[in-house]
Symmetry: C2
Subunit: 489 residues, 2 copies
């Protein structure tokens, strides 16, 4: 656990009890903003390169948090970028020097945060590295570039801090919850940080300052490699791919059992993104089971028993492919193949039409935490928790990447839109991953879990669930997060 | 096309007209068995290493074809192999020296045919190479080892012929159709051959002799690399993976449309493995469409239109991953992961129980070539044909690997058992591939093709189908194959 222990010359840290030890964490909040100038010492200008959801959220949060400090935040875009108008609408303008060409902005910044799309990062990182000022820090928000450099035999340039601050949620959530933080201090999206190269000797505090300025309720330490593996594997599993596969399989299951399309949607997708999500967010994983009546609990237990094994098998496969670099090679191959034809969309299947109707009639209805659906979903979440724990990830990373990011960022978004919409509109790396692995989960549920759920529950597996150390870790993480009502418009 | 033109000092060759040129082929038959001693000149002993379905079929066929020539065929097994009893039951015994330890058999053979499982070949090829006599020829029946050596940086030993004869069908079919060849001369499974290293200067004739002795109706030339790519991609697509995904998706489709389980099975799986397969085998691809009435043809056309695009997209993805080596890395990772736990089976889903009942009531019933099912299946087959053609494969390889192997070997087997049984019981490389890609096809049909099939047919796409050059290539190949009634008991 020594990699998860760290010190700061600027911020007051805490020790969080987790199974088997403790992790150093930095609880966030607006009361820390006064410490930001010390954390950012030597940084006069931050360049945020890229204006996707994450770029927009981070540029806005950083600017707002650093207002009055004299540190400016500027946005760099590719020549002719279609995002310039939106950046201007958010107050970044060529006139005051806070909007410009990506290489020019890079050349003027003391901290360059790279938030362009993965494929663009893969194609253009050398150009950006070449434009850096001597000693400027390189900032990342996930480990994709490390994976890419490893797969292609490249590396980071010497003489620069290389740090990462990785919000465990979508860009939209990073902005929305930050804004809620104005009234509920500490609201935000948790983040991990990593120091991959510490040229300045101040990289830890620079990363912590960046995270506090984004509004992270708490910040924990990881490595860029650990972040990369859990991030890419997680989005292929419980964060996106598995949810996609699960709702597709469940919708068909309930339709065949006699549900009309709207009821089938409510029993599958709506149950997960609504009540099951809300219960986990508020009260943890075991609460989902405890809130059920006797027969419901029996159904939950049999579904949990049936789904845990095939989910775990798949998540181990995903993890191996990510760790080996195979998954990223597939992404690179797909980008090449798709250079001159669009990716087909998956949002045309009948269940998504039912989703529109279900959302339209939501007012006054209370969807139920369907026990069969709940058992499958929670089993898949626990399979990811166990696989990540077996692979040696820190507990903060496990609970954030497997539970908190799901219930506090992605599922609320899916509740507002739907899962297929999210797949079709997320980052290309995530989109390709969800299309690649979602169907694998669907098939595993349909072909292995559903038939097995007719059998009895496995008492040992259920005991391992109810007594699992993850509940302690999740509770410790929850204490650091103020209660906010998450909704997406 | 120059790689597909070759000469032989032993066998009478033919030129087969294919789109855009011609290919040299060797039509087979028992009347050529008298030429085998000349083809095998210098070979006194053939070692067949491994006793899976392919090992059993090839050892038996070679022994029977070479009876009376003085060339012996011996089977080599790993110490303690569970296959020894079956080999003895087929007439290979320790007493007469035709059954023994794999390394001992290797050390005595002039031609060593490696038919052990892929994972065993990956793990033990160096040991076997080390046991070879000077100048002994190495024989393979697919390109897996080349892919493995390339992925891991290894190579074949110098000083040996390296040849491949690759029957385009399962081992059981290779034996069964060979036996039918006793009454219908030329019945058998087509094969490709490749000469990867020609140390002796006689490698082409050695390979041709091997193929004739297996009973190949005709033998065409390829390269080990081309064989590897089309073989591994083909089994992930129309030969196995796509069929698995297609029948799973169609079964659910027909069930939701109101079919009871047996009717849904007949409209999906039974239609493909029965009448659609038989029509293609007897009369080619366009006959499937031509035999439909007007409304049926309209349904076929819309299904074809809807499925071609997503199938092509997936097959291009598969091909890229196979050619890049990514797919084989995944197999290696899976073998490692599964070393200490069994792979879950996919044969438990409800449709396979319906399959048992459908097979039981087959007598006296004539399944129909359901037009919707037919359109989807033929579109997927054509997508593979087009992708392989775009990637530069010879036409013989395209039609054998995309059409003939399907309709004359694998689908009859699936008709006798079922698709899931076949997935759960085929080679591990194929099994892993089908589990990996079958669900992708299922999702593509369900989420993209089925909704799109409500729209109109694409006249241009249909015209490309009916006027496609593959029909000429398939007809040319069919002329070389005697008509036999294929059935599996």
């Amino acid at each position: 656990m020594s990699t998860n222990v760290f010190t700061s010359a600027v911020f007051p840290l805490q020790t969080m009890d987790v199974p088997g030890g403790a992790e150093t964490v930095l609880p966030g909040g607006r009361h820390l903003f006064g410490l930001l100038p010390a954390a950012f010492a030597g940084v006069r200008r931050i360049g945020v390169i890229g204006w996707g959801p994450q770029g927009r959220a981070q540029a806005c949060n950083l600017r707002d948090s650093l207002a009055g400090t004299g540190i400016t935040v500027a946005v760099g875009l590719r020549p002719g970028s279609a995002s310039a108008a939106d950046a201007r609408a958010h107050g970044f303008t060529e006139d005051d020097g806070t909007l410009g060409d990506w290489l020019a902005i890079t050349a003027e910044a003391d901290l360059v945060i790279l938030l362009i799309a993965d494929a663009a990062l893969a194609a253009h990182h050398e150009k950006i590295f070449g434009a850096l000022r001597p000693g400027a820090a390189i900032g990342l928000s996930h480990g994709f570039l490390l994976g890419h450099l490893r797969t292609t035999g490249g590396g980071f340039p010497a003489g620069h801090d290389v740090i990462a601050v990785c919000p465990k949620g979508m860009g939209d959530s990073v902005r929305r919850l930050y804004q809620q933080g104005a009234s509920v201090n500490g609201a935000g999206i948790n983040a991990s940080f990593a120091v991959h190269a510490d040229h300045s000797g101040r990289a830890v505090d620079l990363a912590l300052g960046w995270s506090v300025a984004l509004g992270s309720p708490y910040t924990f330490r990881t490595t860029l490699d650990s972040e990369y593996r859990s991030d890419i594997a997680g989005e292929r599993a419980i964060l996106l791919g598995a949810v996609h596969g699960l709702v597709e399989s469940l919708y068909g299951h309930y339709r065949l059992a006699g549900d009309d399309p709207l009821a089938a949607y409510e029993h599958s997708c709506e149950a997960i993104t609504g009540p099951i999500r809300a219960t986990i967010s508020r009260s943890g994983l075991t609460a989902v089971r405890e809130q059920l009546d006797g027969p419901g609990r029996d159904t939950f237990d049999r579904a949990y028993t049936a789904a845990y094994g095939p989910s775990r098998e798949l998540i181990a496969e995903i993890y191996d492919e990510v760790a080996d670099g195979t998954e990223l090679r597939s992404v690179i191959l797909a980008e090449r193949r798709l250079a001159d034809r669009p990716m087909s969309r998956i949002s045309g299947s009948p269940m998504w039409a039912a989703g529109d109707a279900v959302r339209a009639r939501r007012a006054g209805r209370q969807a139920a935490a369907e026990p069969f659906t709940a058992g499958l979903f929670v089993a898949t979440m626990m399979a990811q928790v166990d696989e990540f724990a077996e692979r040696g990830h820190p507990w903060s990373e496990i609970v954030n990447e497997s539970i908190i990011e799901a219930v506090d960022s992605l599922l609320p978004y899916m509740h507002a839109r739907d899962v297929a919409y999210m797949v079709d509109n997320c980052s290309r790396t995530a989109r390709l991953g969800a299309r690649r692995w979602g169907p694998r989960f669907q098939a595993a549920y349909e072909q292995i879990a559903f038939p097995a759920a007719a059998g009895p529950a496995d008492g040992e597996l259920l005991a391992a669930f109810t007594g699992h150390p993850v509940h302690q870790a999740l509770a410790a993480a929850a204490k650091l997060r103020p209660s906010v009502d998450i909704h997406v418009t």
